[in-house]
Every structure is written in C-alpha cells, then in structure tokens.
C-alpha cells in the first residue's frame, strides 16, 4: 500500500488490517478508515463512471459533500465512500451510471 512511512510531525495509528474486494479483486485496508482512502492506498483512483458522458470520476472533496466518489458497496449504490468506514469482507464496485436502488418483494426500499 502507498502509505506515508515517515513524517516529521504526525504519527499514524492504523486499525486492524482487513480484506475486501474491489471489482472482485482482493485487497487489504484498515478497518474503520474510509473506503476511498483504502482504495487510494491500493492505487485505485477511478471510483465511478458518469451516467451520460461515461467520464471517470475519483474522489474530490473527501468530506461527503460532492458526490464524486459514489460507489456500489455490498450492492448498495451511491455510497459516499470518502466517509463510509471500511469493514472486513466488503464488496466494492465501480458505480456505472446512476445505480439501482434495490426494492424487496413487499415493495419497500431495501
């Protein structure tokens, strides 16, 4: 992972290292840290493809305000990955288009 090893001022205390998948590929990241940061540390920079122009998008604001880093996480679309904590075994996918909200057989939103 592309992590800062030495810093004149800061000390980084990371949590537990856990496994997750990105587009089916297994990767490692720190539990509880934002998904977007874990992906970036693994060299992943394209998180989404826009609905109309099919443009690649990565993260931009990192504070959950700009919607650039929306991804599909465990089947849920439009997840703000810059402020959603990573958990063991998460399935993370590039979001293509607007994403579909799953509706269960009672017609309620999942």
């Amino acid at each position: 992972m592309e992590l800062i090893r030495e810093h004149p001022i800061l000390e980084f205390s990371h949590g537990r290292l856990v496994k997750f998948t990105f587009e089916g590929r297994e990767m490692e990241g720190f539990e509880g840290e934002p998904i977007a940061m874990a992906l970036h540390a693994n060299g992943i920079r394209v998180y989404r493809e826009t609905p109309e122009m099919k443009r690649p998008r990565g993260f931009f604001c990192a504070i959950g305000k700009c919607s650039s880093c929306f991804m599909v996480v465990d089947g849920v679309p439009n997840v703000r990955t810059c402020i959603t904590p990573l958990k063991e075994g998460m399935r993370i996918e590039v979001q293509r288009g607007k994403g579909k909200i799953k509706i269960n057989h009672e017609g309620d939103l999942k």
């Binding site: 992590l3 800062i4 840290e33 604001c61 990192a62």
Partner: protein, 369 residues
C-alpha cells in the same frame, strides 16, 4: 424522535467550541458530524496556529481538536456526539432536523436551539478535464495524507497561492511528495509571506499570473498545461507542460449554507465572506430565532475566529435556555467580542471586516427573552 436542548450541526472548531460553551453552563447538547472523526478541518492541520494565545496560537491544529474534545469529555452525558451522521434537512413547520447515520439509517431530532456550523466546501474552476480523478480539493489531499497517512501522488501541481495552497504545499513536502509548482492567477501571493517563504526555501516555484489551462490524461491525471494569463484574463505566452499525477485545487471555499436557507434565515451574498451567508446579530443568532450560525458557514475566515464565534453562539444559546444570568452573559459576550475583534484587527482582515459589516444586525429581538 430524539430530543435535545442544543443541536450542533458540524463538529469542527466552531461547533465543538459552541458545544463546550453551552454544556459548560448545563445545557444538553447533541453534536452531529458527517465525518468519521470530530474536529472538522482542525484534524488535518499540522502547522502551528497564529492569532492569539486565547485561541491557542502556537499550537498545531490537530492538537487543538484533541483539546476541544477533551473539554467536551469533561461534561460527560450532557454532550452526545454522532459522527458519520449527516443532517439532511430542517423542517420549518415543526422544527425537526432529519439526520442520516451512515448511508441508510435515518432519525429525527427535535432541538430547542440549533447551531449551523457546517463549515465550507471547496471551489473548483473551469478547465478541460477538471473532472478527471487526480484533480483533488486541497482539503481532500490533507485528509488523505494527514489524517489517514495515504500518499496522495508522486508529483503535485498546486493551483492557488492563498494560505491553503501554501500550507498544503508545505504539508505535501513534509509527507515526501514532490510539488512541481504553485500557480496563482493573481499578480500577488494571497497567503501569509511566512508560509510562502517556507515553500520557496524548499525550491517550489510560485508562478504568479499563471493558471491551469488543461488537465491531461485519459482515465486519471497524467499531467497539466499551465500558462501565463494577462490582466484581462486571457492566456498569453508559451504553454508549459507540467508532469504531475495530482492537481490540487486551492482556489477558495464557499460557506455550506443549505440548512440556513431551509430554515428560512435571511441570507445575503457577500463576496468578502465568499458566498451566501446568514444575516446575524452579535450573538450569532440568525433571523430564525431558533437558529444560530458560526465558523466558515457564517463566512469564510479561519479556525481561530470560528472558535470564538462558536463560543459566542454557545453562550447565547445557553442564555436563551435560561442557563446563564444576564450579567454573566453580557460580560462574557463582551469579552469574546474583544477577542474576535483582536483577531480581525490586522491588515489581512480588512476584507473580513467589510464583509461582517454587511451582515451584522445592530439590534435583535433575540436579546429579549
């Protein structure tokens, strides 16, 4: 439905200060913050603050955040905090605030008083490919490297030589990342000279009257074209190719003001405060009698003044709730205003003073209970 006396929306320097102040008098406070950690932008700041000793000059930003959180811990159950929790909407008819924990768990809060301390959001300027992954806000770069220790890239082009552009350039160098250049459209450096001097001493060129013309790359940023600009804002001279994988945008901030609009607060566009801001009285109370504002949401300034504004708002909310005697309120409020005025006294704050003068109501019904 959750009930609280004071709901603080945004746990940055302003929100945490307001929460501490209100709780110190006995008010029950709930803080919601969309980020995973409280502290707002403070947790990303590795530099020592200027300003005054009251506002912890000489202390690094992330340490100030820890100090505020420690202070809040001292108030025990009186202060409830929700991180990774976004305030989505304010419903004027019943005064309910709708919140979302994570991405899917919703709950309602009915507060007696609300502080909107939602901070700011990054501006972007138009240029071809400005949506490519690798074009990052300066705050985002700080989050990556200073909060989570992730290397943002190999070589960065910084756009903007205000304080944020200068400070983040220095922080990039501290993290071992190369800074190709800082481009600034204005004919002068916008930030403090001491910050500019630090990056210049480390060999980073600051190109004034230069801006980014285009980001290069197919799926991610692979470079940039910069060029000199004339006072009339057209590009002149030779195109300069910059080898970089990150383009860091430090071109200013806008106050995050959606909830204030929803709450029906009277708003005004004030260029000196960088966007639409709420008209407020000297207690930071808006024209909605249950809504206060503080920090960057009240106008882009800096963390030291945000903390004082937060104290003023927290004190006023506690006073309105009946926790503070009138005499104590008047004296402490005067003290905080003295500190705020001292912070805004310098030549660099002339713009802020002009801006504040446009939105400060001289008197308010809010002063009478």
């Amino acid at each position: 439905m959750k009930n609280t006396e004071v709901l603080v929306i945004g746990g940055g320097p302003a929100g945490l200060s307001a929460a501490a102040e209100a709780a110190s008098y006995g008010a029950k406070v709930m803080i919601v913050d969309s980020d995973l950690r409280l502290g707002g932008q403070l947790i990303k700041q590795t530099h020592k603050f200027f300003g005054s000793a009251f506002e912890r000059a000489g202390t690094r930003g992330f340490v100030i955040s820890d100090m505020l959180l420690d202070e809040l811990k001292g108030y025990g159950d009186r202060v409830e905090t929700y991180s990774n929790c976004t305030a989505l909407g304010y419903y004027k008819d019943d005064g309910v605030v709708n919140c979302m924990e994570g991405e899917e768990n919703y709950f309602k809060v009915l507060p007696k008083k609300i502080l909107v301390a939602t901070g700011a959001q990054e501006r972007l300027i138009p240029f071809p490919n400005n949506d490519l992954p690798g074009v990052y806000g300066a705050g985002a770069v700080q989050t990556l490297m200073n909060v989570y220790g992730v290397v943002p890239g190999k070589r960065v082009l910084m756009v903007g030589a205000g304080n944020i552009g200068l400070i983040v350039s220095y922080q990039l160098l501290q993290a071992g990342v190369e800074v190709a250049a800082i481009v600034e459209a204005m004919p002068r450096i916008g930030g403090y000279w001491v910050h500019a001097a630090k990056v210049r001493r480390l060999g980073v060129p600051i190109l004034l009257e230069h801006s980014i013309k285009e980001a290069l790359g197919k799926d991610v940023v692979e470079g940039a074209i910069i060029q000199q600009i004339s006072p009339g804002c057209g590009f002149i001279g030779e195109e300069i190719h910059v080898d970089c994988d990150v383009i860091c945008m430090a071109v200013g901030l806008n106050p995050t003001c959606e909830l204030l609009w929803q709450a029906g607060c009277e708003m005004k566009y004030v260029p000196q405060l960088c966007g639409h801001v709420a008209i407020r009285d000297r207690s930071m109370r808006t024209t909605n009698p249950n809504v206060w504002v503080a920090g960057d949401a009240a106008g882009i300034e800096e963390a030291s003044s945000a903390m004082v504004e937060g104290r003023i708002a927290g004190l006023s909310m506690a006073h309105e709730l009946g926790y503070v005697e009138d005499k104590e309120y008047r004296e402490k409020s005067a003290l905080y205003w003295e500190r705020l005025n001292a912070l805004r006294n310098g030549e660099a704050s002339a713009k802020i003073r002009e801006g504040i003068a446009q939105v400060l109501m001289e008197s308010s019904g809010g002063m009478e209970r």
